[in-house]
Amino acid sequence: MAYSFPEEVLEYVFAFLSSDKDRNAVSLVCKSWYEIERWCRRRVFIGNCYAVSPQIVIRRFPEVRAVKIKGKPHFADFNLVPERWGAYVYPWISAMARSYPWLEEIKLKRMVVTDESLELISKSFKNFKVLMLSSCEGFTTDGLSSIAANCRNLRELDLRESDVEDLSGHWLSHFPDNFTSLVSLNMSCLGSEVSFSALERLVSRCPNLKTLRLNRAVPVEKLASLLRRAPQLVEFGTGAYSTEIRTDIFSNLVGAFSGCKHLKSLSGFWDVVPAYLPAMYCVCSRITSLNLSYATVQSPDLVELISQCPNLKCLWVLDYIEDAGLKALSSYCKDLQELRVFPSDPYSAEPNVSLTEQGLVTVSAGCPKLQSVLYFCRQMSNAALVAIARNRPNLIRFRLCIIEPQAPDYLTLEPLDTGFGAIVEHCKELRRLSLSGLLTDRVFEYIGTHAKKLEMLSIAFAGDSDLGLHYVLSGCESLRKLEIRDCPFGDKALLANAAKLETMRSLWMSSCSVSYGACKLLGQKMPNLNVEVIDERGPPDSRPKTCPVEKLYVYRTVAGPRADKPDFVWTMDEDGALRLS
């Protein structure tokens, strides 16, 4: 009986619950549990910054120490979301500055972050520890200077894949001389050179530094000095790994690497000169994660390196690895869990490397723990996909990108429906799927029938009719995010499954056949959804109601229509009137 335990006991018990799902369940038990839980929730994850307002979050959870917020839809990574669309973090920072003085962590993804926001962060939270900006934009190195100068207890500064306006490398020198708390620094996305002596001194005085990911501007000859000052590193990212081969630099590097007994993860490797790769061989036996996706090195050099990494769990690599390299991978790296193969020359008509579906089939056969795949290639067959599905029923993420849109099974010239059907049928734990190649409505029937745990689905240039979309929306019980581009899906399936959209985080449809009229209807009937039409041709009212909209973004929200829309976004509103910002 809930009321017989004092609050303090319950609070103590709840502190052991880290998953949001568990905490949400706990808060539904009864009013007093709801109250106790909300006062002791310390971490909040907001999957869509427009699904809720800062005020609502702060009102419910007054003692938060860590927030994670995501902004733009995933397709923003591929330039499908126009500039100025939104996802500004400033309102969040400003509200939290007033209400969460003890905030320690801010992690943002695909949000617009200004220097002003960074300065506000640096001055408002006395115990600020972790700043992670993943695929963010809108700030300059001046903002980083504020963080460096003012966050006395900073532990992590991770700028992964953000687009930073790089005014100068001087920002790093703003860390005070008595600043020693750094644990993780990822500046790999920055362009300009930081003062190397400032970097050396920083690394020297931070004994807890575990992660150091340098940017391209740090040359190979400087690496040894850094590694020697931080032999405790667990994760290391090089800069440009190229220079004319010199034995003194090489042996210095070998010596430095051999002092790093804890290294597990390596990345960087821009402009690699293969002759420098052997400098790392002494750490390879402990390496579990290798990001070679910027390393423009041929297959034999890659195989040499990979064959020394029997404990490899995660490999990101360019398609230079080729089928032969993947075969080697499958025989040396039996612990492999994640493989990502990126294209080295995606825009040319002809293949530049010998990487085909065979490579992926081989890895699926040889690596029993493989669960996460991202694979760019130029040909695929149903037979290969069926083989992969049968080999690896434990797949959780499967993202396949056949470079030419609507490419059929290259052996039979048929659509790839059967192949992807086998994937969803055999891989019962599949949570994420990206489709490509020639696909009819049939593949969506398979997906709707089998993919019951699927949470995120990405579709491009696929399907024949609304039936395809209908299968997905009506069949995929766990679906949270659906993103679609260039598919002949229209009004019917969308309107027939309107209620489904409230059970999902978001739906993105661009270059499809959804009419303005249908969008209006959806917006009118579903008050808990924001139905946003993105159209750079001007107001949708100026075109017939049957005219398809350019882009549609639908998401559930308790915050109502957003007030910060740009002039090319319209929210389809309850009272039928067009709402501009």
Binding site: D166, A460, D464, R485, A496
Partner: protein, 187 residues
């Protein structure tokens, strides 16, 4: 599919269509969370012949056969801008992603290949990556062995002299190079 056919006629407004459907079927008003069966349009679940012809790519994708320039389809293949920038640099293509640099485009010809290419030398800071990139660029046209040992790279300096690339320090090379040529060793 067991749904009843209830498509609205094309010349009706959506509101009229909905009220027509209300009379026909049993769905309740939208009231948020409760009603899972809400549908705004009854639909037989059969593709409607004249409306749902198999759609093909629009003309925006007709140009996907190429030229080595960037594909005309926006956002395809799905790679992010950091990676695209890296690829651009590696292939010596048009690049507006590099900050703080003035480009230095020089023409490069390879013996046996009719068409020359242009490359931005400011993307490199030493000979090795440059050589690698050049061989990759031209490997589409000719079969070149991995060690790139069959060809030697020459460059023409400001005075018009042809010199061996790699003989002088990189900075000197950068200051004087006008154009480059890759010649077979046995010629």
């Amino acid at each position: 599919m067991e749904l009843e056919l209830g498509l609205a006629l094309p010349n009706q407004t959506p509101m009229k269509a909905v009220s027509k459907l209300k009379q026909k079927c049993k769905f309740a008003e939208a009231d948020g969370i409760e009603n899972k069966k809400l549908c705004l349009l009854l639909w037989s679940g059969q593709p409607n012949g004249e409306e749902d012809d198999r759609r093909r790519l629009t003309s925006s994708t007709d140009n996907k056969k190429c030229n080595d320039e960037e594909n005309k389809i926006v956002g395809w293949p799905p790679i992010n801008s950091l990676r695209k920038e890296m690829l651009h640099q590696y292939h010596g293509g048009n690049n507006n992603g590099i900050r703080n640099r003035q480009s230095l485009y020089v023409k490069v010809k390879m013996e046996g290949v009719a068409i020359g290419r242009k490359i931005d030398l400011t993307l490199f800071n030493s000979y090795q990556p440059l050589k690698r990139t050049l061989f990759n660029m031209f490997s589409k046209y000719l079969k070149i062995d991995r060690n790139c040992s069959e060809y030697t790279i020459f460059y023409q300096d400001k005075e018009g002299n042809w010199l061996l690339a790699g003989d002088v320090p990189w900075e000197t090379f950068m200051e004087s190079v006008q154009r480059m040529e890759m010649l077979r060793n046995d010629s």
